[in-house]
């Protein structure tokens, strides 16, 4: 069953179209990624679903309810972590959880959340004294304290160090494992690839594609490379070998510089190329296959790399 259904959603600010009739649905129990560069309407979409903004057109249903008309009932069932959100400096960790728990009819026991999110030792610490990672974990715990069926997490690892990011990823998987549907807004490819069951790729207010990360990567057939060094002076003639590799299906280019060979192609050409090497008893070293990433898929789908 779809937890969230968005159809033909439109929004513009001061005549500038931010969202152009986008449609997607989020299934129960999945981590759904909303991926795209800043300013492509990701946060606007999520804020409309959360009921913080009104759409200009289209319909949104969350758990079968309208985010504006049924806002009061819906807010009991939805947990939100907003981008750029903070708490009062002098608020203690337990007070924040206790306070937010009191907002909901059926909250979770916040002491459990304290343990789950590794904040037991920070229980009496004030918000301003927490580390970046601890603040982020508290903000996520607050999004879950109402015992929501859907949690929205917006750019939650921005500003965290690599270790804290990895740790946060594990916790997001835990949220899904407890049966909460997660909508994850991100501009980090690695994060989306690691966490999401399905991803909507946003590009200039439209959705370029929706698929699993693996499906997106395979779907675009992005070109990738393999490199290796052939030991010279053996029985194999490098020139003949290059020709054999060039004939492998999927291979689009082969470049040889002395013993160093670079093969470019699409699909699963690398397996076939290693087969050719083995059959010809070529002694190969420093074999490297560049893994295709979501980055490649993203660039192919939107016509530009994410960083730009």
């Amino acid at each position: 069953m779809a937890i969230i259904e968005v159809s033909e959603l439109s929004k513009s600010y001061a005549g500038r179209t931010v969202l152009d009739r986008i449609s997607f649905s989020v299934e129960e129990g999945e981590i759904f990624g909303i991926l795209g560069p800043n300013g492509t309407g990701k946060t606007t979409t999520v804020e409309i679903i959360e009921g913080l903004r009104r759409a200009d057109g289209g319909t949104v249903r969350v758990l079968g309810m309208d985010p504006i008309a049924d806002g009061r009932a819906l807010r009991e069932l939805v947990g939100v972590q907003l981008q750029h959100t903070a708490l009062p400096d002098n608020l203690k960790v337990w007070e924040a959880l206790d306070l937010y728990a009191s907002f909901y009819a059926n909250p979770r026991d916040w002491r459990e959340l304290l343990a789950e999110w590794g904040l037991v030792e920070q229980r009496d610490e004030r918000f301003a004294k927490l580390s970046g990672g601890q603040k982020q974990r508290l903000i996520i715990a607050l999004a879950l304290v109402g015992n929501p069926r859907v949690a929205f997490l917006d750019e939650l690892t921005t500003g965290l160090d690599p270790h804290a990011r990895r740790a946060t990823w594990e916790l997001i998987k835990q949220i899904r494992d407890t049966g909460v549907t997660v909508v994850l807004v991100s501009h980090f490819m690695d994060e989306v690839e690691e966490l999401c069951d399905r991803v909507a790729v946003f590009s200039n207010g439209t959705i370029a594609a929706i698929d699993s990360p693996a499906g997106l990567i395979d779907g675009v057939g992005a070109e990738h490379k393999m490199r290796f060094t052939v030991a010279t002076g053996g029985e194999v003639d490098p020139e003949a070998l290059t020709e054999l590799i060039r004939a492998v299906p999927g291979v689009s280019a082969v470049r040889r510089d002395g013993g160093h060979v670079t093969v470019a192609g699409t699909g699963d050409f690398a397996t076939a190329v290693t087969g050719v090497l083995a059959r010809n008893q070529a002694v190969v070293s420093e074999l490297r296959i560049d893994k295709r990433t979501l980055d490649d898929a993203f660039t192919a789908l939107t016509g530009r790399p994410l960083g730009l």
């Binding site: 009061r72 959100t85 009062p88 009191s102 907002f103």
Partner: protein, 234 residues
């Protein structure tokens, strides 16, 4: 406990932990005690001055800073995603800041009446009316600052910038009797000045000038409306 009750408890704790609120609370008491040692018995000037300082510090500096920083930190927006409306937080904050001025003014009256032997107002009802109007008019300006300031820091700066000229015109820096008559007259058309002069009238055993009461009422209504109109949740 209901959400509103819990919100009130938490906000009270935060108010007590904030050095700014302790500062607004202690400064008027400090001024009262330092200058109180040198006044004549039956003085009717010092206590109205310190009461006006107390309301001015809370209304123009403390309250707008608190509200603007709540918006700046995204706390109001975050509340809008919960079953509790962000308006509840504003109301709780306003009531708490009002309670702070009540406690602060109560302490001033108690210290003045007992330790310093300063004359207390004859008319409790008159004092109550003037106190409410004065607080409402100063808080209205504070709300407008909170509505317009982009951040807590900016609200703090605007509050301080407004407080000092207003305090000067209102006769809170020096007794009005030592100021040029024209300056005192101008000061009566701003809330703090109208408030201090009305209190002095009551302290002297008379009734406050209706014009001064009208000045405070007009500020309270008009400026609050403007604040409500310009207020942004994010």
């Amino acid at each position: 406990m209901t959400a509103t009750a819990k919100l009130t408890v938490v906000e009270t704790k935060l108010l007590v932990r904030d050095p700014g609120s302790m500062f607004s609370f202690l400064i008027p008491v400090f001024i009262l005690i330092v200058f109180g040692s040198g006044i004549e018995p039956g003085d009717t000037v010092l206590l109205p001055m310190t009461l006006a300082i107390s309301i001015g510090l809370v209304g123009l500096y403390l309250m707008p800073t608190a509200l603007a920083s709540y918006r700046e930190k995204g706390i109001l927006r975050r509340l809008a995603t919960t079953p509790v409306r962000p308006g509840s937080l504003l109301i709780v904050q306003l009531l708490l800041q009002f309670a702070l001025t009540l406690v602060s003014c109560g302490v001033l009256l108690a210290v003045a009446g007992t330790v310093l032997g300063v004359q207390l107002p004859a008319s409790v009802l008159g004092f109550g009316v003037v106190f409410l109007l004065g607080t409402a008019s100063v808080f209205a300006i504070g709300l407008l600052i909170a509505a317009l300031a982009p951040s807590g820091r900016a609200a703090n700066g605007i509050g301080v910038l407004l407080y000092f000229p207003m305090a000067f015109l209102a006769g809170l820096m020096q007794p009005a009797s030592q100021m040029p008559a024209i300056v005192v007259r101008i000061g009566e058309f701003i809330p703090l000045g109208a408030f201090r002069q009305s209190l002095e009238d009551i302290w002297n055993g008379g009734a406050p000038d209706p014009l001064l009461l009208a000045v405070m009422a007009v500020y309270a209504v008009v400026v609050s409306f403007a604040a409500a109109k310009f207020f942004r949740w994010e």
